[in-house]
Symmetry: C2
Subunit: 787 residues, 2 copies
């Protein structure tokens, strides 16, 4: 069913796309510029795909090797991986193409009216959103159906088989997230290198305005908006979407396990808890379509608030519809009550109502995080006004105020996440956490439509400027652009919230895959890895920031060279070599993303390999890797919030001067010393909010996904019996002298005897006797262990 809904979504996307493409694309200079942007974007995509091909081949070989070593990892994981990468790249391709085709059509539409311009630009965003969501659901459900039939013959056998299905499916998610790494980090470097390079030489040195066609870097700058904000964000959410649903499916499988390993009598072929996350995602696509249809304005003289209200209406409508549909799906697809294992608290009875409450938690987080982000970064809000005030005493105080704002903003966001983890777990265990994430991600298509419309409007304004259209066109696109800036900030909030919840869900799935019974940070090696994990996002951010600096300097030298060598360029008679600048940004982005990428992928592998060389037990290594994952997640979330919000606040503090601000009783405008201080802040904030900050999302998700794919290796000396028993697993790891196979068969024998032995010895005892027996047993266990 979800696959059908996904196809429906894709069909709607196609219809919408045809509608957008049928719109008038203007003519002459406009078309010329737009085609430059379109080609620049395609040039980046093609260069990226070339590099990715090598990466995908290399990673596929590594995965194939894993599948030969680990019995539970099937070679099909490689196929899933490749398709995940291809689907993600394809979704990015659709998004980039439509965005770079919609921009000029939006400009043209803005010549007639604002409602028309919104309709066109949001239409482009909708195509992007539905493309991403549709392909994600289609790919995931498609592969699930295939693997379900291949491994299990299309009907429930046991938890162990389903685990293999889901482990193989993890390849799809890994492929998607790998592409996201390149798209997000590379895109972030690209967009800021072009932006800073264009500004430094164009605005500062040559004194020509922004988006001036004489600036050779201006096309690269406009391409960058698409590469970073459209393709990067799209790949990011594509990855989150797939990973969240996958993690929820894994945990759903463990719910079945905790319920005794078979719930075929409950309907849905006995896999209701596994299917539910996909069902929510599928219905979410249809809901998003409804949501996008609600976004429209009628008034040609509308201001930002009206446009924002139209977007909000669509957004809230979809959130409410997801809540309602979650209720129906949860009640319909899940058993009335379930048993779930809570670590340290034993098995609990959970009614499906509590699962529904957990999904509500996710929806609330999605809504609240946007509000929190807007508070800290919004124009006219306290924090931004405070930065504006501090700008009057110079760049130093402006920077301190911006840093402090970003840091303070972690308080409410982290508190929100902590409460969300706690609440959704209390409602329905880690399955609840994963479903909270799934419910939040159900509106992905809608979120992306809102996110993507901003850069489209931004580009539309740039095209209007470059092709010297009448000022009212630019005014209309400016209104859309301004709303787009706000949605960009809140979109980043949504993205980090989704990454945080996704990582937690993956983290939980990781523990169940490895078969360990927890991650004990009181073991020093685990604690050491927690430290290292905490450090990685910080170093990653620094590398990304330095990359932007390096790439921007290359751009500066190239633009200077063109100004110097091409005759008549400043008079508008010589034609700048736009493609050279596009090429520099492209090459720099791809080159500079390698080191951070290596860090992300290399660290988990080193953490597994080094202790293996030292002869550590797999169980301990699994805990160490888990500690690392937790460190990366906690620190990554913090640094993402810090950097995104500081960057957003600096940006809007600078923008405040455009309309004029009151400082110490005086109206202060652009060009004042305070404004210059604010520009410095914005320079620092740019890589924060567009490169290193958003990269954190990918870092934490990819780290947890790599962990999940490695997990079966670490779990391989532990038996995954039909009903995995933690006590048994512990024992197995402690008896190291025997080869794995032997233990497995012995345990199976023990399994058979279990019911007889345990019932025989426990049943006749009264409660107080039981306690004594318990203590006796425990001392026996200890005694045996010691020997």
């Amino acid at each position: 069913m979800p696959a059908v809904l996904a196809v429906l979504g894709l069909i709607f996307m196609w219809v919408k796309r045809s509608w957008v493409l049928k719109q008038d694309a203007g003519s002459g200079k406009m078309g010329d510029i737009a085609s430059h942007i379109y080609e620049g974007a395609l040039a980046f995509l093609n260069a990226e795909y070339k590099l990715l091909t090598f990466f995908v081949i290399g990673a596929s070989i590594a995965l194939a090797a894993i599948s030969f070593i680990v019995p539970t990892t099937h070679i099909l994981i490689v196929v899933a991986f490749i398709f995940g990468a291809v689907f993600s790249a394809f979704a990015g391709n659709i998004g980039m193409k439509i965005a770079t085709q919609t921009n000029v059509r939006t400009t043209q539409a803005a010549r007639t009216s604002l409602p028309k311009a919104l309709k066109v630009s949001f239409g482009g965003g909708t195509v992007m959103g539905l493309g991403v969501a549709g392909l994600a659901v289609l790919g995931l459900t498609g592969f699930f159906i295939i693997f379900f039939h291949y491994f299990m013959g299309g009907e429930w056998t046991n938890v162990h088989q389903m685990t293999i299905v889901l482990e193989t499916l993890a390849g799809f998610s890994l492929g998607a997230e790998s592409i996201a790494l390149f798209a997000r980090v590379g895109g972030g470097i690209y967009t800021k290198a072009a932006d800073v390079g264009a500004d430094l030489v164009g605005k500062v040195e040559a004194g020509i305005p922004e988006d001036d066609p004489r600036n050779p870097a201006t096309i690269a700058d406009n391409v960058g908006d698409n590469v970073g904000d459209v393709a990067g964000m799209g790949a990011d959410l594509f990855g989150s979407y797939v990973a969240t649903v996958l993690a929820a499916m894994v945990l759903g499988n463990y719910v079945i396990n905790d319920m005794g390993g078979n719930i075929v009598s409950e309907g849905f072929g006995g896999i209701g808890p596994v299917l539910l996350p996909m069902a929510i995602a599928g219905v979410g696509i249809i809901i998003s379509i409804i949501g996008t249809l609600l976004v429209s304005i009628k008034n040609n003289d509308a201001k930002e608030a009206e446009v924002q209200a139209a977007l909000n209406k669509g957004n809230w409508a979809s959130i409410i519809l997801v809540a309602i549909s979650s209720l129906l799906l949860v009640r319909w697809m899940l058993p009335e009550t379930m048993q779930m294992e809570f670590f340290g608290e034993g098995i609990q009875q959970i009614s499906s109502w509590r699962v529904f409450y957990a999904t509500l938690v996710g929806l609330v987080v999605g809504g609240v995080i946007s509000a929190v982000t807007e508070h800290y970064t919004g124009l006219g809000r306290g924090p931004v006004l405070s930065i504006v005030q501090k700008s009057s005493t110079g760049a130093g105080t402006n920077i301190i105020a911006g840093l402090a704002t970003g840091m303070i903003s972690t308080f409410s966001s982290v508190l929100l996440f902590a409460v969300a983890i706690w609440a959704s777990y209390a409602f329905a265990g880690f399955y609840g956490v994963a479903l909270a994430a799934s419910a939040m991600m159900a509106t992905t298509a809608m979120q992306l439509a809102i996110d993507a419309f901003g850069p489209i409007a931004d580009n539309a304004g740039g095209i209007a400027e470059m092709s010297e259209l009448p000022p009212e066109v630019r005014e209309r696109t400016d209104i859309l652009d301004s709303v787009g800036n706000t949605t960009a900030a809140t979109g980043k909030g949504f993205a980090i919230a989704s990454a945080a919840l996704t990582s937690l869900a993956l983290f939980a799935a990781y523990v169940t895959f490895t078969g360990i019974d927890g991650i004990n940070i009181f073991k020093a090696p685990v604690l050491a890895m927690l430290f290292i994990g905490g450090m990685v996002p910080v170093v990653f951010s620094a590398l990304a920031m330095n990359s932007v600096g390096k790439a921007a300097m290359e751009m500066v030298y190239e633009v200077r060279r063109q100004f110097r060598e091409i005759p008549g360029i400043m008079e508008g008679t010589g034609k700048p070599e736009y493609d050279k600048c596009v090429e520099i940004s492209t090459k720099a982005a791809l080159r500079e993303m390698l080191l951070p990428g290596l860090l992300t992928i290399g660290f988990p592998i080193v953490i597994v390999l080094v202790p293996m060389v030292f002869g550590y037990e797999n169980r301990l290594i699994a805990e160490m890797l888990g500690g690392y994952m937790a460190g990366v997640t906690v620190s990554g979330v913090l640094w993402a919030i810090f950097q995104n919000n500081a960057g957003g606040a600096w940006d809007n503090a600078k923008k405040s001067f455009e309309a004029g601000v009151m400082i110490n009783g005086e109206m202060t405008y652009k060009g004042s010393d305070a404004h210059k201080a604010a520009v410095t802040g914005d320079t620092v904030g740019d890589p924060f909010k567009d490169t290193s900050g958003p990269s954190m999302n990918i870092l934490i998700k990819l780290t947890c996904l790599i962990g999940l794919v490695i997990a079966p290796i670490l779990g391989q000396d532990m038996t995954i019996a039909e009903t995995p028993d933690i006590d048994e697993v512990t024992i197995n790891t402690e008896i190291e002298t025997e080869p794995v196979g032997v233990i497995t068969s012995e345990v199976d024998e023990v399994e058979k005897e279990r019911i007889i032995t345990s019932e025989a010895s426990v049943e006749p005892l009264t409660i107080s006797e039981e306690k004594v027996a318990l203590a006796e047993i425990s001392s026996e266990v200890k005694q045996v262990k010691m020997e």
Copy 2:
């Protein structure tokens, strides 16, 4: 014995102090200015003590309440707490007094020769160092002897009794660290408020040089150096010193526990592992005295390198001597082989050699962290030069480069800590981690002497400037000051390393106090607390930075008022009201430290109380608090390194311009645009390196100490038997229906039966049968648990 050594140290301190005070203090204007600084410093101390009195009374009442609730916490903890606070305050008092008396004597000595000036200023530092270390060891050992006699009658009874002794002793450590919170955070706010305020109006607005006597804030600025760098650093290391030794003692007690609860046959009254940390600390004092005696130069025309070499000689000599004495003490006081419990790995045999290796790890960390810090912040090193280069393109790129440097620097530092944790734990468990910290801290007196001499030299230079002495005097003090800047940076590295290791040791002690068998971050509430813990240092830093901004603005208004209202102030005929500025800094510092202080103390309490209200098990709450502690430590260490190193690098990037630097082939000096950009960086770096960065040390240590004091409350529903058995403890928490007492007696009965039962059932089995039995037993345990 350690008490005797401490007294010896204090006697030597007194001798040194008399010698310093006998030095010529100069006359006329010099003395006048010096007495202003002295009085300003005392004014701050007195105001601080007043506030602290209220705090100590409040905290004592809270502790008394705890001691009534928790049977194992004795009311004497309140006495220990008060003495800890008083000792720490007294040590701060000695340090501040001697520092503010040595400064003018250094100026006077610099009129004759550089070697003399070094001798005097370093003599002052030595008094400070020995005062802190001597009082710390005296207080700790004194109270240990008292409690040992009070609770145990002066001879070994059992582990449980010793735990009570050490829990009560934790009060001393808590008192010391509470004072450190106020001294470090308040001092950090004080010094930067005065510094920024003095500079903004004096240097920028009025155009008068630094340390000009016409500037009303100049005395406050000089007082600030003492308040922040002398008293703050002193209290910080006093706290680390006490906490480290205490934590090592607690873990030593658990070594005895793991060895069967009685090692009286091994000598030292059966408490060798508990006494060892105190012995190392005591011997460290004598070694530090030897080290300080080695610091001297002969050449009157010596440059920075020679002075630095003299300090290094003393420092390395003491490190090597500590290594030798640790070897002797470890081999002498510890049993030849010990049994230690490694969580998840069972009991291991540890020879005392391995404990010695663990102490070596600590010494290496202390040495390497200084080198790493110097690499990232040192003049003429790559990172600083790179920031200098980036200054040429403006403040924005300077800031990005500084932030990136601080962020990158976390890589090697965190890797070092991670390896240190891992290695010292692998050698000798958490006892090894704690002893590594103890060995590193053994040279505290020497470290503090090196640290404190910097601000003294800085002050001496200020006095020379203000009293218009001949330029060669200022040149000589400048050499000392310049060396002092380097030692200040490396000292901060030492302080954060000590705080990190101390926190880990406290963390380990916490787990043993609560009786939990680990902290499982796979439990969602624990994970949520890890997130919250990670966030607290970030918010704390932001609050501290904002406080500096607020306090500095007050100072600016006051200085402006004085310039406006006092006639003849600029001509040197009117006398500025120095005390008004001192008062503003003092009040602001004390007021602004409250919120961060509240955050530090309040969060752990809330984390314990809220779940109690929700009816969570104590065991889970203990894990949650542990997760919080880990989050604070990991994130706090990261932010401390990041902020300290970024701040230090910015500072030296700015200083580089004084001698001139080569940028793009051109020599660039003070006053250039690049220099102005570097000044902006320094403005941002000031609160980073002097306020929020160093405060992290206190935050993480105090958090872990509060946890340690709360621990017995959380452990109270678990039995601390003579040989605590983790399996039993687990069982106890799961049987909640019975009162504690009953279970205890039952467990004791079981204890007796244990040997018979377990031997009877296990002995006759062959190896392969054993495994089956093991599996049976485990399934029985599970069966029983489920019911």
